[in-house]
Symmetry: C2
Subunit: 341 residues, 2 copies
């Protein structure tokens, strides 16, 4: 089977965005704040938004299951305070949960957290617990820059983040390290901020000994790892100068890369450079790049085509498509086994 | 001949750093500010610092000429005000000029600018004029983030930068877009900030119509273009969604990438994806990654080895080594012709 470990609910019914806009408009004006109960989205609306979009494309492309989380660019943790983020995260996570209940064979949820700049990371734990214990989430998305492009938080190696890591270890769930919208005019959200964050997160891990403190902690770095595989020699060299162990030993028991790289040469580099055990299939569909490549006449984000054409053998391709996801996301594996898959 | 378009004076005599540390220590205390005349570095000291380092390695590797600019991480435009940056830039540029006079066959200078966060970019023009007209500089380094990792300046497409572009066009000189030290704990300088800035700068150009205003403006994006070539499909797709022309037409008359990518698969990707006319040989030696790759037993930054092994024909390799540099740096070409080269 083919598991796409990186899907966001980018196609939620319009009512969600309308509610969020009301919430944002009411910032600083509590009386105007909309209640979560004022958001009404029916199961039929959810069904239609999925069947005509993600599920249609999954069927066309032959993808079986998507790890499905709230729309990354809409997390916008920089907006409002913790209460705002908390309400918003709860709403978004509930929708992904409902999608997973409507399409249990095709979607399994991953949670966004109610992060807020400068707020104790432990405040995220109740939502995390609910999502894992009640909603069956198999992973979280962790935003290394809740400020939205101003990078005011501590690096991921800082103890600030440890409450989240402790819970991740307890539940044995990975985190995809994924920023949200940039509110810094220097950084285009999907063309710069996302990729920069991937590279930044990797380097924060490289310079630290985080995984000595948390040997079973697992991070998935999306978008093919940002600039990391292309500059693998640079990172190997920097680690060597810092007297760190080789990257395989220092980071690759804990860090994994997805295949959201939207052309053949990029996937070829990824599979050439990064050990196959550390590559997980993903497309981030329907996401940042929705068009058809005039050079191939296929969707840019139809990453399965690139993996099919990559120089890997069938056993390795199976790891990329399924085996690694089952290993890195044990709760996903358990859910699949419970379904007899 | 082989021209390395990306070398910094990272090996300047210790007196330079001592002077800079005095300058930094005197911030806010004008009476303690050291005078430029208190810095004494003899020609013999310059000669030794070059002969035992860059020139030795250039000879070992068979490189003929380096475009030589002040140490990037030492520019540190975020330190002090314009006066501090101005004095510091003048000192550093003079040293590179002196190196070029001592070794005219091997080094030709490129200038750092006295940038300072929030200060009018036009304040950089006098130093730029001096460096081009009196010192024979053939290019500048332009820091897109003088704040040092806080990204408080406007994007490169903003009119803030136009005074510099107007002078670049007048002199027909390119700018290497190169940040300096990160003072943001999130960003490791050479492992994250440099690469992020490369990606960010490219995307700032992609989303804008800067090169419609300046059709002959030329930017060299170092470190192999950050994440750009690896994600070339993503950038093609984003440009398409923004209704921009194809990247070749939209950006590749004006943007060029160097070969500072420190492993074979990275250079192979670069030469596979980016048109050969847009690739310029460089090593950034002696720079961020100084060690020997245990996998190859050669220096990580001996990028000539990767270019030699890349799948390009002799004519294409000549463009990468020399032809493109002569075209993108017309003042370099003129200086070489004047030397009969």
């Amino acid at each position: 089977m083919i598991i796409d470990i990186h899907g966001h609910y980018t196609t939620a019914p319009k009512a969600l965005e309308v509610w969020r806009n009301r919430q944002i408009a009411a910032l600083g004006n509590p009386a105007d704040m909309p209640k979560p109960s004022e958001l009404h989205i029916s199961d039929d609306e959810l069904r239609e938004s999925i069947e005509t979009n993600q599920l249609r494309l999954m069927r066309e492309r032959g993808l079986d299951l998507t790890v499905f989380s709230p729309r990354a660019s809409f997390m916008a943790h920089h907006i409002g305070d913790f209460a705002v983020s908390s309400t918003w995260a709860a709403i978004c996570n509930e929708l992904c949960y409902r999608v997973s209940q409507l399409f249990p064979a095709h979607f399994i949820p991953a949670a966004m957290l109610p992060q807020s700049p400068g707020v104790d990371a432990a405040t995220c734990i109740p939502e995390l617990v609910k999502c894992v214990e009640q909603y069956g989430n198999v992973a979280i998305n962790l935003n290394p820059d809740p400020s939205g492009g101003h990078w005011t938080s501590s690096p991921l190696s800082d103890r600030y983040w440890y409450p989240i890591y402790e819970k991740m270890v307890e539940y044995d769930i990975p985190a995809m390290i994924h920023v949200s919208t940039s509110c810094n005019a220097c950084f285009h959200t999907t063309g710069a901020h996302y990729l920069n964050a991937d590279t930044t997160a990797f380097m924060q891990c490289l310079t630290s000994d985080l995984f000595r403190d948390f040997p079973t902690l697992r991070f998935v770095i999306p978008h093919g790892g940002g600039a990391v595989p292309y500059h693998w020699g640079r990172f190997r060299g920097l680690a060597q100068e810092m007297k760190k162990p080789p990257l395989q030993e220092h980071l690759l028991n804990n860090i994994f890369f997805d295949t959201c790289v939207y052309h053949q040469p990029g996937i070829d580099l990824l599979t050439r450079v990064i050990p196959v055990d550390n590559i997980l299939f993903a497309s981030e569909m329907i996401g940042a790049v929705r068009g058809i490549d005039p050079q191939t006449h296929h969707y840019f984000d139809d990453t399965k085509r690139y993996v099919e054409a990559a120089d890997v053998n069938p056993e390795e391709r199976h790891l990329i498509y399924e085996g690694n996801a089952r290993r890195v996301y044990p709760r996903l594996n358990a859910a699949l086994l419970a379904q007899g898959r």
